[in-house]
Symmetry: C2
Subunit: 240 residues, 2 copies
DNA sequence: CTGTTAGCGCATTCAT
DNA sequence: ATGAATGCGCTAACAG
């Protein structure tokens, strides 16, 4: 079935395109009777305006792109991303936007991905990444595409990101363990490419130092954020 | 900075829009010298055609929408979805398409979601769902939007889906346990709303019956696909 | 091989 | 309050 256009609806409702457009965008200046008639026709034929056409004229898509770290195990295996994604989605929906998670970061050529981002299919990008030199982050900054990053790099001077205070969080956690009476406290670090790993380690070191506990290198290990690496390292800690 | 259009590139390269369009779409009928010149200008200005405009004229977006079951814990917490998503993404990339995961199924009004799907932002939809009455599946079928479903409903007569033989899979698994010498075999069912749950249970029953093992209701429990429910039920099995 | 012309479907002036 | 006209940026005949 050939999809109906706004023109068809206008004809069927006996009005002009402009009027249909007005009810589509719920503008007030339409006589109630006319509005109803148009809405009935729209409903009867299940008409929905074509996104591309309205995007072309308005120059906005009302959709937000979500980009996650490239590791697929992180992508779906780490519950933190589910929570972040959920939050992004909720706010988008609430504001009349929609969020779409870009799926191709594992298998798509980087340049092709950039081309997509430059094609203005998204009004803005939410990039989740604490990777210290994420090519995508660099690209977004350079091109001026509207974005916000969850996570950041050390030298970042602009305010394009939101992040937690990783060092302080680690400090609090370690202090808590010390308060509970523990003295032998291990640290399972994440990937060194992610800045949060170093930040947390920093907090860990500071809390130990403050408590006068000397750091035991045997109790520090570097994982890759996977549960498997956590398991292996934890076993090693207990063997030590 | 005002984004450049194909028109600007044409002027800068001293050719017409059509020629620029031709090199953009890598059509052969362009003199190498001209092609190079155009490509240089494109690269120099970092120009990328606006997706909406070309979508409007070609009536295709080259993007595939991926829709997952509504439960967010399933969404990111169940590794099977990571694998499926990965597969979809790989094939899309390989074919010059891109895949986008729709994020709003938890928090968006169903009608708004349908509106999005009808807006032709996706050339096709991949719906992952074995939910026996998934409203989205019904909608897709009714509207004639191109889609394929991973998972299916009992009475489905068309060929719009791909699925594994759940009953046979369960049969094989149970037979294997029996072959190993076990006689006391429990079944941890999934949500009853998903057809695969009943299918697998069917296979379980058949395999037991075939081996002359009577089914012990104490060893059958219904979870909700979460690891937590699996843990609780498994403990109950061992207590029984 | 290249330029000219004509829309794609919609929102948005500008008239009325 | 409504309609007619215009253009968003691009591809696709059609000429030449």
């Amino acid at each position: 079935m050939p999809q109906l256009t706004i023109e068809d609806i206008a004809r069927l409702a006996g009005v002009s395109r402009s009027t249909v457009s007005r009810v589509l965008n719920s503008q007030p200046s339409v006589r109630p009777a006319v509005r109803n008639r148009v809405q009935e026709v729209i409903a009867a034929y299940g008409y929905t305006p074509q996104a591309a056409a309205r995007q072309l004229v308005t120059q906005r898509t009302r959709s937000i792109g979500l980009i996650l770290p490239d590791n697929v195990y992180n992508l779906f295996g780490n519950p933190i991303f589910a929570l972040m994604g959920q939050g992004v989605s909720q706010v988008c929906t609430q504001q009349g936007y929609r969020s779409l998670l870009f799926m191709g970061r594992q298998d798509m050529d980087e340049q092709d991905m950039f081309k997509l981002l430059r094609g203005r299919e998204f009004d803005g990008i939410v990039l989740i990444s604490s990777n210290a030199n994420d090519a995508c982050a660099a690209f977004l900054k350079e091109t001026g595409i509207p974005y916000v990053r969850i996570g950041h790099e050390p030298g970042q001077d602009d305010l394009q990101y939101v992040d937690v205070d990783n060092a302080e969080a680690a400090r609090i956690a370690v202090k808590h363990l010390i308060w509970l009476g523990h003295r032998r406290i291990a640290m399972l670090k994440g990937l060194s490419r992610d800045t949060c790993s170093a930040d947390r380690y920093q907090g860990y070191k500071e809390a130990l130092e403050e408590a006068g506990i000397s750091l035991d290198p045997e109790l520090v290990g570097e994982g890759n954020w996977s549960t498997a690496s956590g398991y292996v390292l934890t076993k090693r800690f207990f063997a030590a």
